[in-house]
Structure formats: C-alpha cells, structure tokens
C-alpha cells in the first residue's frame, strides 16, 4: 500500500518537545504517504496528542523538522497558510457554539479561504451530506448529540480540502453507542484514500482500517508496523503487552 515512489506527504524528523522538566517527545520521526491511514496508540501521557498539535504548530516543538510535501512547516513564518492544509479533529469537538452546524463549516471557507458565501454554503451542504447530517444543518452545537457534533467537526475539517487530517482521540468523549457513527465516517474517508493520522484507543478500527499502527510510549516510537504484524507478532514485548491490555479492555472490534 505504501509502495508509491513519490515524496511523502508528511515527514516528521527528530521531533522534540518538553514542557518544563517534562520531556514529552524525545526524537520522534516517521513519514506518511498520500492516502495513508495511520493510527497512533500508546498509554496516556506519552505525547501522542502533543505530537499532533506539533504537526500543525498549535504547539511549537523545541527542535526537529516537519515537512508537508517539500515545504518545511517548522521554519515557516506564516503558519496559517499550512494550517489550512492540515485538518484537525478534536476530542472535545471544538465547535463554535454560536454558529449552526452549517455555519461552523462555512466560517473557515469564508473567513480563511475568502470564498463567497454561496460557494461556501454549497460545500458545507455537500460535507454535511457526506457525514449524514443534512437534517441538522441549521441546528446549533448545543442541540446536537456528541456523535453529531464530532461529525460536524469532521465535516468542518473536510470542507477546507486538507491534504491530511489529524484526529486527536475523536471518539474518546463519546458515549459508547455514538462511537460507531463517527468511526463509520472515518472508515469511509479511509476508503476514499484520505490521508489520516489518528490517535485512538479504538483497537477494532486500528486493526481493520489503518494501514499502519505506531506504538508510542514515553515520548518515543517504540514500534511501527502493519496491523497484522503489530497484533500478531510485534517485535517488542511492550507492544504486545499494551495491545493485549487494550484488546481486553475494548474488545477486538468488528473483525
């Protein structure tokens, strides 16, 4: 699946980040090709979310480089230009409470991409359809369920036509019965070869949908490999231990 010879879409090289004494990322490197779905797993507090926020520079890394295609993000003067190209889906949705579902999606198009209102509305409607929320277009975030909110969050990211979308535990704040609707939207995206980097504890999703799983612990990538390898014969004892624990906790998912 990763046999394309073109330059990678995203390259993360020797990324380091500490908050005070606490070293969160110690020398993290990996690449993502176009169309890849990669899942990052690992115990909490091991820098997974920090890694994502470093990629779109919501948090500035201390050192290391990140390239989007051939452009260096970490040395960019104007980060806003890159952020438009990198979608972000948050654990707690981050919807704008004073705007309807549709306007949540439109605001990035009209204010950042300076698109005309009409054109933005067409795109918003399209994306709402894609995540199955046409009926909720004119509802406000407080009127939506958690699963619906997160689907609006995904639609908002998609509308910007990003080259990659980062998901930071997109289902962790959801009631169990609402997780499925969000995962199925993400599965559709994976099928359509959207490039996605996902931090999640959903093992079923990781196993069946991702191209590759990255196991992170204590700020380093312990191991990286296909789901098959990671679940069946990982190189490291820690990987096996962790996956065993998670699988026990969350089940194997819908294999």
């Amino acid at each position: 699946m990763n046999d394309k010879k073109q330059s990678p879409l995203l390259r993360v090289k020797n990324l380091r980040k500490s908050f005070g004494e606490n070293v969160v990322l110690k020398d993290v490197s990996f690449i993502m090709n176009e169309g890849d779905t990669k899942v990052i797993i690992g115990p909490s507090g091991t820098g997974k979310s920090t890694l994502l926020t470093c990629i779109n520079q919501l948090v500035r890394p201390d050192s290391g480089e990140i390239y989007l295609k051939d452009e260096c993000i970490t040395s960019a003067e104007n980060m806003n230009r890159f952020r438009q190209r990198i979608g972000f889906v948050f654990q707690d949705f981050g919807l704008f409470n004073h705007l309807t579902a549709k306007k949540n999606i439109m605001v990035g198009l009209t204010k950042v991409k300076k698109m005309h209102k009409k054109e933005a509305e067409e795109i918003a409607v399209e994306e709402l359809e894609r995540v199955g929320l046409m009926k909720q277009a004119d509802q406000y975030p407080a009127q939506l369920s958690g699963g619906q909110k997160q689907r609006v969050g995904i639609a908002r990211a998609l509308a910007m036509q990003p080259e990659i979308i980062l998901f930071d535990e997109p289902t962790s704040a959801l009631d169990p019965e609402l997780i499925g609707e969000v995962l199925s939207v993400m599965e559709d995206l994976a099928e359509n070869r959207m490039t996605m980097l996902i931090v999640t504890h959903e093992m079923g999703f990781a196993r069946t949908v991702s191209d590759e799983i990255i196991f992170m612990e204590d700020g380093v990538i312990v191991e990286e490999g296909s789901p098959d390898k990671m679940f069946k014969k990982p190189d490291h004892g820690r990987t096996r231990e962790f996956l065993f624990k998670l699988t026990e906790l969350y089940g194997e998912g819908d294999e």
Binding site: L58, N80, R83, F88, F96, G108, K111, A142, M160
Partner: protein
Amino acid sequence: MMQVYIDIIVNQWPKLLHGLGLTLLMAAIAMLFGTIIGTIFAFIKVYGKKFPAAIVTGFIEIIRGTPMLVQIFIFYFGLPIYGIKMTPFGAAILGFIINSAAYQAEYTRGAIQSIEEQQMVAARSLGMTQREAIWNIILPQAVRRAIPAWTNEFIYLLKYTSLAYIVGAQELMEAGKVIASRNFLFFEVYLIVALIYLAVVLIMTWLLNRLEKKLAIPGLETVR
C-alpha cells in the same frame, strides 16, 4: 395634592425635557464609547502582549480606584491650569466614558475567559489568524455573555450622569435643582426627577433583556 405635581409638569416640562435630553445624550455617548473602549481593553488584557496589557491594567486600576467625581473635578477645575479647557459637558462625559470603559473592560474580560479555549484552538487550526479568530469566534460569544453585566453597568451610568450637575452641566438633575429651588418644591420636584430616572432605567432594562433573549444561542438557554 396631585395638583402640585401636575402644575410642575405642565409649567416646567420644557426644562425637564431638555435636562432629560442631555442626560440621555451623555449616557448614550458614554455607553457607546465605554463599550467600544472597554471591549478593546478586555481583549488587550486577555490576548495582548505584556506591555499593552500592563498599560490597560494600570488604566483600569487607576480609574476604578479613584472617585469619579474627583476625576471630573480634575478635568474641569484642574486641567485649565495647564491650558486645557473643558466645558462642563465635556469634562463630565470624559469621566463617564473612562469609568464605563474601565468597568466594562473587566466585565468583558470575564466573558471572554468564560469561553472554552478549545474554540480558539479550533479556529486557529482552520488557519484563522488570532485577529480573525477573535473577531469571528470569540467576540460574538463574549458580547452575548457580557450583556447582563452591561445592563447593570448602563443603569449605573445613567444614574451617575446626575453627578454632572455639580460642574454645572444642564442635565436632568440640574434642571430639577433649578426648578426646585426657584419654587421651593424640593420634595415634589425631586420625586418627579427620581420617577423620570426610574422610567428610563426600566425601559432600558426591558430593551436589554429583550436583546439578551434575542441573541441567546439555541440549545444554551437557561433550563427552568
């Protein structure tokens, strides 16, 4: 007995109305500029760089920490010594504006800080600049949350404009004072003046409550 009140109103209404007009004008100007300056100061305090934020904080502390009447006296009686002359109206309104700005800056700061940081993060992640995010995402929500405090502030402000009579501005209180002392009808005239203030405050409160309801975000109304 009612006849006295009717006589006052019938004979003195042009003076009272003129006074009320000036009161409303002063209040309106002070509210408008106080709100604008206060809102800008609030954002500088929350999002601004250290130095501007420190200046704003200093300004707020000085204004809130000194009596408004003292400030107005400094403007009206003090500044002419340095060649800056002000009309009673000008000195009073300057005092009202800076006080309103200082108090509103703090109310609005509270409103801004009550908005989940996640929304700012989400706005920035879409590629908005900080300014775009403030303008499109934070400000519209902060204003809504500040309205109840603003209502309070506007009521204070309207009543504080009565202080302007001390430097001789021809507002409602001054008009009342003149009418009362000329006719020796202190109780009756001041009661009428009080009722006029009360009526204006009630109308203003009603309007602002309506605005608050109109701007309420669906799904976030108070549960009863």
